[in-house]
Amino acid sequence: MFRHIIIFMKSTLRWNAKAFPLVGFLACVMQIIDPSKAWVILMIAMGGTWLFCFWWVRGLQRSLHFEREMRFGWARVGDRLEERFTLRNDFAMPATWVTVVDGSTLPDHYASIATGVDASSTSQWKITTQCTRRGVYILGGTTLETGDPFGMFTLTFHDTTSSTLAVMPPVIALPRFQILSSGWAGDGRRNPRSLEETINASHTREMTPNDPMRLIHWKSSARYDKLLVHQFEGNPAGSWWLLLDLDHRAQLGEGFNSTEEHAVILAASIAARGLQEDHPVGLAINAHEGTLLHPRRNEYQQRALLKALAVASPSEMSSKDYLQRIGGSISSRSSLLIVTANADAEWTESLLPLTWRGIMPTVFLLDPNSYGASADISAFSHALESMNVSCHVISRELIGERHGLIGEEGKWEWRVSGTGKAVAIKAPVADWRRLA
């Protein structure tokens, strides 16, 4: 196992005391030319020490093995990430100091450490970190630095192996919200044996990642010289288009108690609920890196949605502009669930053309007042009401209270028996695996 790892560890040996071998060599030459005790002392003390340290460090270079393992490939906010580090020294001399410098980008993950390994022994330690912030992070690479006690040499190992860790937003249990269905009752009922949500293709659109190859409309693709796929009619009782509006002008609060984080949690929870209720769920995010995921209901959709939500960050584009831009991509006669913190009534005008296409919006407004702003949301409510659009105002407390309960991965639970013995009743189930 270790041998396999070494292949990836590039090591460099730096000479910090170049004067030592030089003095040792000169002393040797001078001893031959003009013998003196001085040369012998220099030769033995300086040249000898240098040679000894060189032998020591070269031995460590060949015999120091490092392995880094983790338990999970992904996590949710609140989960505990556990990493295991193993440092093995097969050499006859110890590594009196080894600095392990971690290059991970995961917040609050302090894996850098200075330790030592005895001769022919193994040192192992674990680092546990609670994932506190959603995002996609890199775990690794690792740089090991060691050397002789005199600092004549510095030996550096570069372990470039790293792994991507997606920290998903948490999913919380939401109260029941009424989601309005669009279209007409019984229209386009889904054939349970059909592969798609409906069998009626309405138009074509540009192919996006995750679209199956079989949906490609080859004639149109050939005509427009780009891949186009069939866009099916929405199922009135089925497709949910989730629109997460992260217009940066509307964001309030900081850190975990910000509208941005709560909007992401809310979107993730709504998406989970939709999928749980067997709705195909699509996602459009008005974020810095615009994301558009078409409605699916397969088992990978939730992870795809959560991954997209994990990296979502506020956008420069206004809510109104984004709605106008994304409107064409939303299937007709589907439910549009808008999660926003923007209580400005102006952008609601953009909903009107959508309703004309049989799309029924439902707005989840994060109450700006609960985030420290003083805003009058009545105008916003009236505007939606006039369009027969349902609006749910979500307070900060609703998300915040449930947020504290999340994070189960990597968590141990113990029960103390009557004899005082601690018994693990829940342990992390995933096995250790090396960083890829």
Partner: protein, 787 residues
Amino acid sequence: MNEHTLRRVFRADVIGMCLVLIAIQVLLYGVGTVIRESESHTLFWICMMAAAISFFGAHSRWKVRQLSAALITLGIIAVWIAGAGITGPIVDLIRGLIAAGPQLFPQINYRFETNVPNVVMLWTAIGDSSAALATRLQASIYDGVEARRLSDVLITNMFWMFALWLLSAWMGWFAARRNGMASLLPGVMLLTYLVSATERRAESLWAFVMIMLLLMGIWNFKNHIQHWEIHHIDYSDSIRFDSSQFILLVVAVVGLASYITPSISWRDIRDYLRERQQPQQIETLTRPSSDANTTTQSSQRAHTSSLPREHLLTAGSAQSTEMVMTIKTGELSPVPLQSVSANAPRYYWRSVVYDQYDGRGWFTTSAPPQSISANQTLVAGLLTRHKSLHLDVQMQQPDGRLYWSGVLYSAGVPLAVDWRLRPQSSLFADQTDLLQADMFAARTEATSYAAESLVPTPSIEQLRAASSDEYPEHILRLYFSLPETLPKRVHDLAKEITDGQATPFDKAKAIEAYLRATYPYDLNIPAPPEDQDVTDYFLFDLKRGYCDYYATAMVVLARSSGIPARFVSGYAPGDYDAANAQYVVRELHAHSWAEAYFPGIGWVEFEPTGNQPEIERHASNESAGKTHSEDAVTRPVFGMPISWSVGGLFIPVVIVFFAILIYAAIIERLKLMRMTPHAAIEVLYRRLYRSGRPLAGAPTHAETAHEFTNNLIQTIRAINLDSRDASHDLQSDITDLATIYQSALFSEHRADQQHVKHALMIWKRLRWSLIRERIKYFFWKQNKFPR
């Protein structure tokens, strides 16, 4: 004492500073071989001051240049004060000026009693002392310009003091940066030079190197701790103990090895093993050794008396042209033209000195221990009437080898011979000898050695002025004795020869002249009768003879006339080989001569043998001094002669080499770090550009750094078609340096010191690689585009 206190005391910084102080003390002890030891106490405080100023200056906002200038200025002032001995007057003067302050500034509402005449007197004393010192310094500089020996001990000491001041400042500066190697390496070099030149106080060098290793270990650990704390890296306490343990262990082992190794004789080990393996041969093998020991201990017993070289009577060796040895003094340069006759100085190559005459011949009495009080000159007239002479002796006979117990030849009074004591044949029997011995010089295959001698150069005027009433006790005891059986006619002859001569020198000259003029030189003479005094037989019966007879007669007549004299055997100067600038001594040059003692001057050679040239002496002090300076070919540096032999020539080369090394390792880095990161990176890129331009071809219009590196890499690839892997790192380094340069120029992020360090590291790798590539490029071009 609780754990907290112990931890504070044993902090790396505290231990480091203590070691630096010890290192300064050790350095001063080592330098004590060339400076007056009585000043070591003052010197210690001066060095401490330099180290402290430098240490705290390094932590201040002062720039390197400012601090260096301040240290040099302060050093000159401190050395001047110490040299002129005006510390006391200056302190008193400052006190006087402070007392006078309130009178000058009425705002100070306090009155001291001011002794103005005293202040003026102190000022005058300081001025006088400084003026006297300036005069001495001027004279010494003049001596230096004239390539004469620097004889003023005070000025020599001041030079050393200043050098040590600078060295201590250097140590303090790098101690502040916790760089053990840079801090102590110059001191190591200095001590190495002194120990190799003097072969004294080698333990100071040993201790200094050990301190350097300890400091390197301690400060390396401390630097790591600091790095970890800055970067919030959690570290284990066990590292402290593991590191300390291994530092001490390695230093102890290396220290022991470097202390003992110079004292191990592999020859003895071999002998010992042979003796163990071949018990039957022990006697055979140890017999010569026993003889040698007997000879070594010869000074403890009297020899059987005889004329020293009876073999000459056979006239065999006396006329043999077999070469005995060649001697180089380095006074004259080799002259390739055989026609040019070199006027080489004449030296007698002394081997054995005899002090007692018993009528049949000569023997040497034991040399009892002598008590020498402090500041007493060991060699009379050492500073003024001798010149130092360096000899490189190459032995040719007997069988071209030197032995531990053998006789070494040198001119004048031997001062030092690069020959070590031999350990006793039983392994580790005598620790004193063992620790003083030198493994590498202890080989019996050695055929050469070097010696430092003092050759007396008194003028006739000085010899005549020498008093005859101030003979030391041991001279009176050993060098006046004559056997009671010495016939009266010998005494009468002595009286007759020296009658009318006023001074001992004139008497000795008269005896010498009488013997040279009266008795013909003859090797074919019969052996002296058993019952007759040798001197009497030579003077009155034989009336001819060879050098032993002449020298014996001279010594006996001199002693009879009240002049302390002794018999010396060795070799006459021999033939001077101008082409090789060496004296060639053959068996036929074997010789004896007489020496007479003159108080305040020492032993002076006389040549009573008629077939040898008379010894030339200068009439007056002036001419002697002039000749002395002209003859002085040894080049003194701070009072210590260095011959321009291989070793002597090597030292400047080593100094230059280390200067380059120090520049490359330290100064270059310091210079770059002092610049702004942007400018430093630009400097490094320019270096790459200059080195790589010949490889990258002619520059194009508005060539970018990217284009330049591309061209450079393409050429390197073309040169290294067969070994692409080898040039991969080089290409990668070139690209990296160019990228850093471009980032520093165009990136929004400002370059910082880390970028400079990275760029410097890359450049250090590139520097030699590019030179190598240019050489390869030259040959590649020759092959590809032959003319």
